[in-house]
Symmetry: C2
Subunit: 339 residues, 2 copies
Amino acid sequence: MHIALDAMGGDHGPEELIAGALLAVEQADLHVTLVGDETLLGSILGKRGSGSSASARIRIAHSSQVIEMNEHPVEAVRKKKDSSIMVAVNLVRRGEADAVVSAGNSGATMAAAVRVLGRLEGISRPGIASFFPTLKKPVVLMDVGANVDCRPLHLYQFAVMASCFSRIFDIGNPRIGLLTIGEEGGKGNQLVKETYALLKNSSLNFVGNVEGRDVFRGDVDVIVCDGFVGNICLKMSEGLAEAAMQMLRNEIVKSLPAKIGYLLARPAFNRFRKRVDYAEYGGAPLLGIDGVGIVCHGASSDHAIKNAILEARKMVKHQVNAAILKSLAADDNDRLMES
Amino acid sequence: MHIALDAMGGDHGPEELIAGALLAVEQADLHVTLVGDETLLGSILGKRGSGSSASARIRIAHSSQVIEMNEHPVEAVRKKKDSSIMVAVNLVRRGEADAVVSAGNSGATMAAAVRVLGRLEGISRPGIASFFPTLKKPVVLMDVGANVDCRPLHLYQFAVMASCFSRIFDIGNPRIGLLTIGEEGGKGNQLVKETYALLKNSSLNFVGNVEGRDVFRGDVDVIVCDGFVGNICLKMSEGLAEAAMQMLRNEIVKSLPAKIGYLLARPAFNRFRKRVDYAEYGGAPLLGIDGVGIVCHGASSDHAIKNAILEARKMVKHQVNAAILKSLAADDNDRLMES
């Protein structure tokens, strides 16, 4: 098992990414290829990895360019053919790696994957899925930003892809919900109403509508929505969690007993934080491409990078793409569209 | 100043609503007309309000029917002409009340208001606005559910209405943001891209795009989106706040020091909760109707009902509807649509 890691992306620089790669090879039976500036990566790896036997399972592939966070994905990928992300994706294309992981520009990672690896047969629109913590198991939401204007068939395919992906967490027959604004089938915007009919007629385990307030209940395994809504949900949840923590902190520092109380309760707070931390669940899988790819939050820690690498390994082992092809074949898409 | 209160709506029944009305008349110079079953309301009022001089400023208007939470809004309003919400809205139409407040079926309240009072001249789609707590002042988001499929003109009009409404909190020149998935003007779905151009060419204080994670920052006063996205944001925030509190509680009860710590920090928690509690800011205004109406959360406490009544009073005093008409006239809608 070989994972290509874009070692130039992410807010914390190559040190954090290499630390994540080292954690991954120490913990699991796999190889990591760091892609980026050979001299820079070699010197960091020399310092961090020396003496570790696991570091023998890390190698470096050189790339001379870097795609920055604010660059236009499609243009950047077209221009920077020797960027770390393009070189990493090409390793997958040539069979020298089984999957690619990047904490860099996620739009560019998606664009590179689609351009180099192509779409999975029968998939109209590849997309990005993401985890949301819930009161029970985490739920997989798709799409979270790759496709802003969608048709019902796209949402149906998101359901197929996210459902196959969620099985890597040993979920037998993933329950799929459709994100909308009312419980009954007839509620929602035009896109959702048409998608409801499509999902109901499919072979998927569609359990019906899910409202915004039910997302965190954990009563479904997969939630489907367009990438505009999904991205707003994702960013809003992150923003709300941060703002709430900030507001609570502002109140706690106002009094000594509250400060002491917080110190006593801190282990509980930390367990809570760990539970809602996306990094615990790995990165966001690119689904619908003919290969395996994971994008991580730019601010990912070494721990988060390690989890993303292990998640990529799981996706390869579980043959998620083969499962997607099989699930698509179980439904006759043309018939679905006519129904 | 006369506020009509639908005294039959809400999850906690008439007692809670009447308690809220009593708090309002005690605190401010206004009259409240409770609308609902005369005998029932009279007996509760007799018990709760006896001896209070403020209770002289509460009267009862009889209605024989109630629209339940799960009834179809438009049908229910058409069938139940003597429902508490229809009678309350009719008080406004006849000039016997200046505004209506309801914690009942909000769709039915909107339908009743549109049917009986009509739309404000020039407004295509009335909508519902709601407050979101932020690190600074609360922000007004519109629409939160009345209009699921929107055109750019509707979003522009939401911006006009929410902007005029937000001035009741003494905001001079409300900053308006457009909810989308990227910072630059070109980012978003088709609706948002077209709306961006419209807002940019309007006379409103449009400051640009707002991403999901910025909602809670408080850098804008008004955020505009379609009712599908807005409703999901609203419900999701409520759901996340509840789930996070539940998860935190689950962790705290696991250890004695954490429990003691929580007790010590409780006043800080309570201040925090008060800050994020929608009830502190009143209800959600119906905007774009030819009258003043506020819908409250079904679970509203007496305190929340009081705040909604005071908010309705403020809307009347600030002549929000006159301001909306003036703001619409400042922009030539036909010219905007062509631009």
